[in-house]
Amino acid sequence: MTRTDTILSLRDLSRDFGGKLAVKNVTLDIREGELFTIVGPSGSGKSTLIRMLAGLEIPSSGDILLRGKRINDVPANRRPTSMVFQSLALFNHMTVGDNIEFALTVRGEDRQKKRARARELMELVRLPADYYAKSVTRCSGGERQRVALARALASDPDILFFDEPLSAIDYRLRKILEMEMKDLNRETGKTFVYITHSLEEAMVMSDRIAVMRDGEIVQLGEPLSIYNAPASRFVAEFMGQVNLLGVEKDGHGMVLKDLTIPLGAGIAATEGTWLMLRPERLRVLPENGRADVTFDAVCFNSYLLGSRTHLHAKMDDRTFISELDAGMPPPEPGQRIRLGFDWSDAVAIHE
C-alpha cells in the first residue's frame, strides 16, 4: 500500500495556555494508514497537540483538517477518532465486554451486534474469549492494554490516537506490545497517531516520526533518517547514548574541542558544529588497532546491555561512550585504554 493520501492536516496549529504557548504553529500532514509518532520530552506540548487532534482541547489558532474538512469545532464525541489514554481510563466498574462495547452501547446498538463485534475485537487484540465477563480491575497490565485498544477500535474509527499508553508497563512487556502495535496498524489498515517520550519506542514501530520541542516540531522524517542524521543537537541528545564532540577554531583551522585534533577532510564544519558519534562507532582499539582519530582515556566502568556491552571512558572531565566488539573482554575500571573512530562515521550536526 502506498501511504501518500493525507488523512489529517494540521495547519499553523497553536494552543495558548494563559500567555504560554504549549503548541506553536505546528503544520504537518499525517498520511492514510501510517503509524505516525510524535516524540518529545515532557512539557514539549505533545500531549496538548494530540488532545487537540482528538477534540478534547480547543486550538487557539490554526486549523485541523480531516480529509480536507475543518474539524476544529467538532467535539470529541462527534469525531470519527478514538484515543487510548495514558492511564488507559478503563471503566473500572464494568467488565471487559462492557468496556469494549461502550462506543456501541451509547450509540444504541443491539446486544447481538455488540457481542459479535466485541468477540471479533478480542480476537484481534489477542484477548481470551472468556475474558468477556471478567472485571477489568482483575486484568493484568498487558491485558488492560489490550482492552483499551479493543475499546478504541470498537466504533471503527478512522484514526486512533495513543497518548503514551505503554509508559507504565514494564520493559519486557512493553517491547512486545510495541511490536504488536505495529502489527495491529498493518492488520487494521487504520491510521495510528502515537505520542511517546521515548525515541527508542518510536523507532521500533513508526513509519514516520516528528520530534517535538517546546511546542514546535524540530525534525520530521522516517526513523532511520532521524537515527542517522539528527537535525540538531537536541534530537541527537534525545536519542541518548551518543557521543557529541564540539568543534572549535584554532590557529590552523577547525579542531575537535578538548582533543585538539584537526578535523579530517570532507567534514563540513564551522564553529558551533557538533560531531555525533554512535557508541558502536567509537571503538576501544587493541594494541595494533588503527583508526583515523585515536586518543587515550581511562576506563570508568562497563555496562552489560544484554547482547552488547557499553563502556564509559573518561578523558579529563569528558565522558565517552563506546560499544565493545562482541566477545571482547571489558577493560578494568581505571585501566588506560585507547579509543578511536573514523571520520566517515562522524555525523556533523549544525544546530
Binding site: P75, A76, M83, A89, H93, G97, F102, V106, R107
Partner: protein, 267 residues
Amino acid sequence: MQRSQRWWTVWTVCVLVLLYIPLVSVILASLANTRYLRFPHRIWTIEPYREALGLSQTYDLQMTSLKIALCVAVVSVLIAIPGALAFARYDWRGRKFYQRFLLLPVFFPQSVLGLAALVSLSAMGFDLSWRTAVFTHAVWIVPIVTLIVSIQVYGLDRAQEEAAFDLGASRLQTFFRVTFPQILPGLSSGALFAFLLSWSNLPLSAYTTGVDTTLPEWLYSRMSTNFAPMVPAVAVLSILASIVFVLVWQAGRVVVNGVMERRKQLE
C-alpha cells in the same frame, strides 16, 4: 515489638471503654424500676421495655424521626452530587471561595442555627412541622455529605469521563454511565451519614419541628423532667433501630453487589 503491641491493645480497650460508657449507662438505667437514676439497682427488671414497647407514642416518635431522616438523606445526596462535582471536579470562578465557605454552617452552634431557622421560617410564613425540620437538618448536613462525596469524586480518574466522551457518549450519557456508578459508594456513605446525623439530632429539631416531636426531643424532655426507666429503654430501642438500619444498609449493598456480579457472569 511484643511489648509495644500489648500497649496498643490496652490503649484501644481504654478508648473503646470511654466511648461505650455512656451507652452502657443508658442500658443499665433502663433495667431498673426506680424513678431516679442511681446505681447499683436494688431490683433488676425488663419491665421498662415492656412499657416502652406498649406505648403507642414511641411508635409515633420513631416514625417522625424516620420520616425526617429519610427525607434528609435523599435531599442531601441529591444536592451533594452537583455540589461535590463543583467542589472536586470542575474548575470555575469562585471555586476556592466555595470550598472554603461550604462548611460554615457546620461551624455554627446548632442551637443558634436552629433559632435562626425558626425565626426566618416563621417570618416567611411557614408552619413549623417535620417538613421544616427536614429543611433545617439539610442546611447542616448537606455540607458534610458534600464533603464525603467530594472525596469519592477526587478519586475518580478524569480521563474516564474524557474517554467516554471520546467514544461518542453525550455529556448526559457520560454522567450516568461513568461518573455516577463510580461515585455511588460515596453517595451511599453520604446518605447513611445524613440519615444517622438527622436521626440523632436534637438542637435543630428542638427549634423547628413545631407540632411534631422527634425521638431525641422527647427523650430530652422526659430525661430532664419526668424521668422513668422507660425513657432510657426507649433510647436503647432507638439505638437498636439505628444499628439495625446500618446493618440492613450494609446487607443491601452486599446483596446489590452480588446481584450485579451474578448478572455479569451470566451474560
